[in-house]
Symmetry: D2
Subunit: 304 residues, 4 copies
Amino acid sequence: MRFGEATNWRMETQLNEQIAGMAIQPSNPTEIDADIVFSALPADQAVGTEEAFAEAGFTVVSNASAHRMDADVPLMNPEANFNHLKLIDEQRHKRKWDGALVTNPNCTTAVLSLSLKPIFDTFGLKNVVMSSMQAASGAGYPGVASLDIIDNVIPFIKDEEEKVQRETQKILGDVGHSAGFNISASCHRVAVIDGHTEAIFIQTVRPSTSEQVVDCMAEFAAEPQKLKLPSAPTRPIIVRSEQDRPQPRFDRNEGRGMSVVVGRVRKDPVFDGVKYVALGHNTVRGAAGCAVLIAESMKSQGYI
Amino acid sequence: MRFGEATNWRMETQLNEQIAGMAIQPSNPTEIDADIVFSALPADQAVGTEEAFAEAGFTVVSNASAHRMDADVPLMNPEANFNHLKLIDEQRHKRKWDGALVTNPNCTTAVLSLSLKPIFDTFGLKNVVMSSMQAASGAGYPGVASLDIIDNVIPFIKDEEEKVQRETQKILGDVGHSAGFNISASCHRVAVIDGHTEAIFIQTVRPSTSEQVVDCMAEFAAEPQKLKLPSAPTRPIIVRSEQDRPQPRFDRNEGRGMSVVVGRVRKDPVFDGVKYVALGHNTVRGAAGCAVLIAESMKSQGYI
Amino acid sequence: MRFGEATNWRMETQLNEQIAGMAIQPSNPTEIDADIVFSALPADQAVGTEEAFAEAGFTVVSNASAHRMDADVPLMNPEANFNHLKLIDEQRHKRKWDGALVTNPNCTTAVLSLSLKPIFDTFGLKNVVMSSMQAASGAGYPGVASLDIIDNVIPFIKDEEEKVQRETQKILGDVGHSAGFNISASCHRVAVIDGHTEAIFIQTVRPSTSEQVVDCMAEFAAEPQKLKLPSAPTRPIIVRSEQDRPQPRFDRNEGRGMSVVVGRVRKDPVFDGVKYVALGHNTVRGAAGCAVLIAESMKSQGYI
Amino acid sequence: MRFGEATNWRMETQLNEQIAGMAIQPSNPTEIDADIVFSALPADQAVGTEEAFAEAGFTVVSNASAHRMDADVPLMNPEANFNHLKLIDEQRHKRKWDGALVTNPNCTTAVLSLSLKPIFDTFGLKNVVMSSMQAASGAGYPGVASLDIIDNVIPFIKDEEEKVQRETQKILGDVGHSAGFNISASCHRVAVIDGHTEAIFIQTVRPSTSEQVVDCMAEFAAEPQKLKLPSAPTRPIIVRSEQDRPQPRFDRNEGRGMSVVVGRVRKDPVFDGVKYVALGHNTVRGAAGCAVLIAESMKSQGYI
């Protein structure tokens, strides 16, 4: 079967004919001819299948949640923890495989952790409270029923808060260590197609002003930018000064969906820190785009 | 001109013919024959007009923000601070009025402060972080443009966060005193017709568990319930145990729009407190319904 | 299992506890103790099951499409074809049943046929063109994916146009005869929760003006009104004179969802007839409410 | 004042800095230095202002409705009536001006008339019935209130049906003559950002089958394609064979918003003709894009 027949294509760009013509193959390492395998398997099916590919020598970049918290599996948001790639060496040594298994974060975590990275590096983080307004596309297709979301908000996304809380700590921590701050998330679904909006309240270890936080975010660049990786946005974090931005419909495609757009950076009276709003494209920065950037990062470091 | 001609009626209930036939009168105390005046004036026009009515002996219950923080003006959310009515005595004495001027809270504050009241009474409050997902009707008509909210979130509502932060403190404090906890709000507009949803994270003064917080909310009743005031809901706070409630479309009309519906009460890892989601009907509990309940409360205490 | 456990209740009214406590029973005539059976089975499961109940002596009122076009099965929209009830006598005689099988129309047909009835009776109908804007609830739950309908229109509903075209003819025709006009439908799904809106263009047999059409619709009443059946709306068709009505959110609950609301009756330049917009609640007039009114109609005529 | 300050930019593409920096000038021919003037004035302000510019020698391409039906003003949808450009000669002669005033059609008309053009040329048209589902952006900004369109349909757009009915006749007719078919429109607003969807039912003069209509549409190309004008889409009409297309969110950007996408071409039982669904981008093909294509057409013929 061809991909064009197997898929129910629901994108605003038309399906490319060459891609539509690609043959669907079983998820079996012996039948696949590829250097890199991108896994979008459901979590329960990812277990076993992904390891089998890595053991067979494939580089597996996975969007599944199954292995994200495994101690020897890098959980990569490249601008936030490029150095975690070195965990691949340990993984290969320990598991005695030539391939590799690397994961990308949950979509909400991808946006949050990237926005926090320059603040964490500059001021340290003590407490993070995050309340999300997430897009319907995060639930896949058909996903969220229209009868559930038109004129409505769903204040629950299964396992999402737990993922955000633990993954953010792993990404921002040193290899093998949690970042060690407190974090609390409340996750909600709203009537938006693409783009997760997050209201973030933080307490830093060292004193920080809104201006300082804006500056460290706006100036932030990391290895993917320095290496000019093809999918790396010029500016990983774009800070807007308008009082009513970011907004999903107008900002989600910044950096071809790879930039996080931040706005409303202002003083927070509870933490004597700052609060701000961050937005990122959940299926690009939060999924497929991040996976591709991970593969580019791995290639740049000789892991592929 | 008749009310039916002056208004662009945009409600899901049809306009009552008797009300449609009422004559529009100038906002002049000498031309109005009434016991109670409900003010829905814009803040700048409320200044002066509302005082003129109170001075002329009218009981003014105002939905305008202009006088909410005036020291001798009660800011009433009746189940949360019924005892603040006594401030009317001071107001009358000081201003030498026979009438009175009482205000209701901002819509977001009305929901938040009611949900916090039993927790505040039982455990004390140290820190409150609130992130809202507010309905379009909060901006009036025509209000929010469809081009701004379809497939979008607007992460800004003018002056809203400041109102929520200060009004909540006045309502929950003793007469003349702020409640004295820290509070931070981030306010956002979503594609919902009616019903404000709020993600709330709290730290209590005395230790509290999720179960204890659920219990004190579910059992909460106040003077309006004891006095069986006509607009008082049987249960001011309804706690739901489903993992995905409250939701605006399904819960906003509870208690004829006067109940706040709470769900997802769970442990908060940042504050070692609880987090929960609260929902209330912004134009009923958060505006007109609250104003009527205030008037009923005043009448019950002999102020009208 | 109890109904409250079996159902995923997605209504704006809370599930009544008594109903929630009712036991789910197999669809087997020998295990059901009831006078009337309302069938909401999928079309393929309705075949056989519905007949088994009717044969066992039950009165079956079905919302399924399976038997609507059967020659000896009444397809009832009570105000439009009350006299079709007499087909039950033929059905019982032919099938040797004590029970009966009666069907209600497709939701779009229910609205269209009721709006056409007084025009058909007064002026005759030669041509009918109908273009619909249908609510998501018509597809059931979960039904229409939010990713398919937010910021979108779906210009296709499987089998809907065929149903509308043939069912309307059966309802408005004499017993056993098609009504004999030409009819063409184009059916579309829009981002509305409840309420089907239909743009209707008609050519009458005898000359008709907009005013005459408005009059015959506004004055229309039929047997359910004369018999004051409990579910019959006082006015089956409500004609509004505002230039921008009917609208689903504001008009769908008229007559407790049983009235069809018509507006914009105006001259049609193609047919030298009239065009108008009709709206009805698809899950009340177009489904459950119509089924109950059918049962009430049957009882009034001694068929139950 | 700069354009960037004067505008409330609400587009999904960011405002280009060069354009943002352009100075706002009064609408006075003596102060403007340009070859072509695009007018987006309200109809009442277009009267007089547009003539003044044309008289002063400017080529005015207007999106305003004011002059569309003037006998000596071309109403251009370039692929549908390229030859109407010659009316400029008559206009210049009669009005004794060096400039020119040319108009583009109403947005709904632009989509309809382009889809009808190949059918009209091939089979002739006798009757056209059109029912639209129009996007919010057609009403400008702020335009449609969110409280009017969320979970709703507005079955009325002021003057729209009259515009569609008369403009389509002018465009498809010979210069100075109406096309001479009957046409009836019913126009409705739905919760879509961009893209007008139209259900179209037609009777042709000469017999036509669905297959023939599909063929003549799919093969259609006109002067703008032959001249390879920069804004001309390769295929002015794209016919899709899926049963559920076109859909605004997925098809509105075809041909960079300049193509009309047609689907569901099928037999119509009323007219013994065909019915189909057409979709076009209302602010591109239906407004700005069409205006630019008109200017390109004029330049290609030496009128600029």
